[in-house]
């Protein structure tokens, strides 16, 4: 269980001016829930993830995982960034093993597990290749394997499919769901895509523009396993419309810029 208790996060610019990113966020994420966070750019979604990861610490309030205060990085956590963030000088296999190498936990079993994992996402033939030889979708699959290999109990994903084309995006999203259903864990998934959020999650948090606050908390009552034809389901429609109204209610569509962050998939 991940808990945010009245969390404020204020950054300061180079000139020392305060920039509030999160304001009074209180949130409980039960164990093994798939939670998505949507909201306009700069609403503190990434900050939320980094607070859970222990990469940042809150200005006010506190964050805890399983009742333990987060005051630094933890070993049972995986992070997938928007860019694949692979080491260009390491093979695909070494990239997947990298977290274990840092934590000095590489064993022959973990090497086998890494190979198995790569096979699961269709990259069995690529384990000795270098990231530059892979497509963007393949690179992001490697990044997902890397985040999952040490069986973290929490998986944090910061717009992981943002840089991919629509088809690859759907494919990897379904792969992610399959893996998550086989190895349940708490997932916090930040995205710009409302339909992606609804399709993947048990629950969607909608945030306000800066400083980010929790604007709405929407439960998604869609049966699992999910597929991409669910977009005709009335529950899917209800959720996406509710979220869209919430976001546009806060920031009316006056310009063209707003459309950019509300992609429907």
């Amino acid at each position: 269980m991940i808990e945010f208790h009245a969390v404020d996060k204020i950054f300061s610019t180079v000139d020392g001016e305060p920039v509030p990113a999160l304001n009074d966020v209180t949130l409980t994420i039960p164990r093994n829930q798939f939670l998505s966070v949507v909201g306009p750019s700069g609403c503190g979604k990434s900050t939320l993830l980094r607070l859970i990861a222990g990469l940042l610490s809150p200005t006010q309030g506190n964050v805890s995982i399983e009742g333990e205060l987060v005051n630094g990085p933890r070993p049972d956590l995986g992070f997938v960034f928007q860019a694949p963030t692979l080491l260009p000088w390491s093979s695909v296999l070494d990239n997947v093993l990298f977290p274990l190498r840092l934590m000095r936990r590489i064993t022959p079993e973990s090497v086998n597990a890494a190979k198995e994992f790569l096979g699961l996402v269709g990259l069995a033939d690529f384990e000795q290749r270098y990231p530059a030889e892979l497509s963007g979708g393949m690179q992001q699959r490697v990044a997902i394997c890397r985040a999952l290999l040490h069986h973290p109990s929490v998986l944090l994903m910061d717009e992981p499919f943002g840089a991919l084309d629509a088809l690859t995006r759907e494919e990897i999203a379904l792969e992610l769901l399959r893996i998550w259903e086989a190895q349940p864990k708490t997932v916090v998934f930040v995205t710009h895509s409302i339909s992606e959020a609804v399709l993947l999650s048990d629950r969607v948090i909608v945030m306000t523009p800066r400083p980010g606050r929790v604007l709405a908390d929407i439960g998604v009552r869609l049966a699992r396993p999910r597929t991409f034809d669910l977009d005709r389901d009335p529950e899917f429609q209800r959720c996406t419309h509710a979220i869209r109204d919430l976001i546009f209610g806060v920031r009316p569509t006056s310009g063209t810029g707003e459309k950019a962050w509300v992609t429907s998939g």
């Binding site: 980094r50 990861a53 990469l55 990085p73 933890r74 070993p75 956590l77 995986g78 992070f79 960034f81 860019a83 963030t85 080491l87 260009p88 000088w89 990298f98 977290p99 190498r101 840092l102 934590m103 270098y130 530059a132």
Partner: protein, 261 residues
Amino acid sequence: MGHFRLRRSTILPLAVLLGLLLVWEVAVRVFRIPVYLLPAPSEIWRETAAIPQRTIENTVATLETVLLGFAVSVLVSLPIAVMIAYSRWFAEAVYPLLVFTQSIPKVALAPILVVAIGANELPRVIVTFLVAFFPLVISAATGLLATPKELCELGRCHMASWWQELAYIRFPYAVPYVFSGVKVAITLAVVGAVVGEFVAADRGLGYMITSSAAYFRTPLAYGAMVLLSLMGIVLFQVVVVIEKVFFPWSVGIAQHDQRAG
């Protein structure tokens, strides 16, 4: 087509070089230019090859100074670059000093060093070091600081110590930058060594140039100059090969950047 262009790109400059040497040779003979003013290429070759042992000794002596000075500059510059990358205080305190050492004319410094340290190998190595280490510090620090924030966050997420972050993430990331600095530094090291030898030396190609010129043995001075440029080219190519063999990804990234840019 690509094969043909590769051959053309080697043959063309060679042909131009040979043509220029031929023009030089013919001009010197036709206009009867005195040998102490401008020796013909054939004369340069004859005079230099006439004393093979001394030429080789001098070349080896200069090479020693170059490699020693270069090694010292690598050993000194990398820790400085790491400290610049990791501490803003250190960077702010040391950057102006670095620039200051760069603005000292090394030719002016060499005789002063000889007075202070004596006419041995040390002042030559110090001058070589001072010439070569600046581009190394700058390129290595730039590379260490250019490491994407997310790669470092990935390391921190998995509880990397600062040492692991340096060894596994920042340093490998900086390798292409370091190599571009090394390429500049190794060529400058040759210049530094010669400057040192001009001021105080009893051997080396720089010494060969000053002593030959003093006795109007111009062909030998030219020969030493040619050897110096060859040394620069060979050392540069050695660096290129080392990069290709041991850090192939670095070369790939450089090529990628070139295509992109």
